[in-house]
Amino acid sequence: MNRRPWILGFVVFLVFVFLYAPIAWLAIASFNSSRSLSRISGVSTQWYVELFDDSRVLESLQLTLQLALASAVISTVIGTLAAFGLRRAFPGRGLWTVLLSLPLVVPEVVMGVAMLGFFVKIAGIPLGFGALLFAHVAFSLSFVVVVVRSRVSGMDVRLEEAAADLGASPFVAFRTVTLPLVAPAVVAGAAFAFLLSFDDVVISSYLTGVGSTTLPVFVYAQASKRGISPEIVALSTLMVTTTAVLLVIGVMVASWRARKAGSSAQLV
């Protein structure tokens, strides 16, 4: 099997080039002093400076972060409760499980239309932060449920029996045994929900209001209207960096908690 390790190594290298070359270009181009994207002429941070002078960027950054945070908190709480609810046997549990994961495969364009129609036109929630929050919670929920449920259903019920046996009431058993054991999955689910909200373009583009645009929607609008400018490249680089940092923190927290719990690292 290992007679040609360099071939495997080379393939892996190519995969990484394929995956990361565009992002590497993005990062390099953002520090280019020239306005041209194809010609590197010097190192400069001017595009970043311009970016932070642009009030539209700062406003949408604030909105995006608030939205991602609120959506993550709400969908994590509801999703975790749902994951525990699905643990018990009840009529139609299989159907509910499928229904909860359906939003994962419904095309986003369709979800956007549905949410615009329902939340805004029917339920009367104004465009902007309110509508965005409802929509983001709705599509993040499925991910949280899937992530937390895998951990909850893998948990040994004897542990909770042991807690009860040793005198813990159901609430105390949940607080001292169940919750600490599912915490890595809850943290991972929350990180997932945050990133999903932070990254979303398609659904959000239906629901942004005047003066309340999320960062990804702003980037997309700028790029499609005026072409790719160095400011947009710099902004994109920042967003990639933020996402990557959050992902790394999420994985580290999850694996640290899992190691503390004596089992192997398990994000999903």
């Binding site: 004897r158 029996e161 807690a163 009860a164 046996d165 040793l166 005198g167």
Partner: protein, 379 residues
């Protein structure tokens, strides 16, 4: 630690108060009866085993006592108080689970402290009692480790310490040694006996391993198909099995279909295929012509070749050696007789070259005191 000296504990007082009493307990799961009307008294300070094959309902009995399952019928009394409907966390009973069920996110120390903390024991008292119980299972130096960093045997000892530290009236043990290898199991058996003698807590031990039950227990209840077949001291259930199931499940038994042909004092004279003489001590009524099963343990059987004479008055059965299996301590002879294949274990303390080879005619003989009569209808 309560004042149980080893001498006292090894002969527990059967007149000691009843710790846990089951009265007509029945439990049915959707498609089958798991426990079919069981009554049982376990006395304070006893090491009591429930022995039976898997699926006989013994674990359900344990789970009903712990409070994880409620019986459909009957009473479960702890110290005279009916426990049915009381949740597990309000019962003064703790369980050692087969899978250990140690909390993986806590250290050994925190695992042992868990039950004490639920009883609002704090500070120095908590430290003292956790330390005491870690010492009891000889794991003081592992207090800071996580369960995953311990071997299976060590984890089992933590589980025992955790359950005992909470100070239960009754400790339930659900096949606690089932997941361990044979050598470790032997070590932990001795450890368990020592711990039980030391703390004096009543142990209710569930196992399918008959040898384990014989070694550990003051008394044993043998269970089969949701019912109790026999309750007794280890010598009782082994030497005087009450039913054909007990005779077959505990150790090896030779079972002969026989018929009562007469009564001679305290002994019944029996006829059976291939038997020159077959006698058994009996109690109660054994009518002439009654069909019974006569059983004898393989280690009670002596083998004689055609030239040697068995002692007078012994039971004698004719046969032909079919197979000889050397097992180290003893040699196992499988003998074909007109009544079926029977087995004799001969200690390898003496030379056995005479009654040796397969194909050789042989006489199986034993003291009639060792013949046990069972109901024929029992099979």
């Amino acid at each position: 630690m309560t004042g149980f000296s080893p001498a006292e504990a090894s002969t527990p007082d059967t007149f000691a108060p009843v710790e846990i009493g089951l009265h007509g307990v029945r439990k049915r799961f959707s498609d089958q009866v798991a426990v079919d009307g069981i009554s049982l008294d376990v006395h304070e300070g006893e090491f009591f085993s429930v022995l039976g094959p898997s699926g006989c309902g013994k674990t359900t009995v344990l789970r009903m006592i712990a409070g994880f399952v409620d019986p459909d019928e009957g009473r479960i009394e702890l110290d005279g108080n009916d426990m049915v409907g009381v949740p597990p966390y309000r019962r003064d009973v703790n369980t050692v689970f087969q899978s250990y069920a140690l909390f993986p996110h806590m250290s050994v120390w925190d695992n042992v402290a868990y039950g004490l903390k639920r009883k609002k024991i704090r500070g120095d008292e908590l430290k003292r009692r956790v330390g005491e119980h870690l010492e009891l299972v000889r794991l003081s130096q592992f207090a800071k480790r996580r369960p995953a960093q311990l071997s299976g045997g060590q984890q089992q000892r933590v589980a025992i310490a955790r359950a005992l530290a909470a100070g239960p009236q009754l400790l339930l043990l659900d096949e606690p040694l089932g997941a361990l290898d044979a050598k470790l199991r032997k070590e932990l058996q001795i450890e368990l006996m020592r711990i039980q003698r030391e703390v004096g807590t009543t142990f209710l031990y569930v196992t399918h391993d008959q040898e384990e039950a014989l070694v550990l227990s003051h008394r044993i209840a043998v269970m089969n198909a949701g019912r109790i077949e026999q309750v007794g001291y280890p010598e009782d259930v082994y030497e005087r099995p009450a039913t054909r199931f007990v005779a077959g499940f505990i150790g090896t038994s030779n079972i002969l279909d026989a018929e009562v042909s007469g009564v001679d004092g305290e002994f019944a004279e029996l006829t059976a295929p291939g038997a020159t003489r077959l006698r058994a001590r009996f109690s109660g009524s054994v009518g002439h012509g009654r069909k019974v099963a006569a059983t004898v343990r393989p280690e009670k059987v002596h083998l004689f070749n055609t030239t040697a004479e068995p002692p007078a008055g012994w039971c004698v059965l004719q046969g032909v050696v079919h197979d000889v299996v050397y097992t180290g301590v003893s040699t196992q002879f499988v003998v074909d007789t007109p009544g079926g294949e029977l087995v004799a274990f001969v200690q390898n303390a003496q030379r056995i070259d005479d009654a040796g080879a397969p194909g050789q005619p042989v006489r199986m003989a034993w003291d009639p005191e060792f013949t046990v009569l069972l109901e024929k209808a029992d099979d």
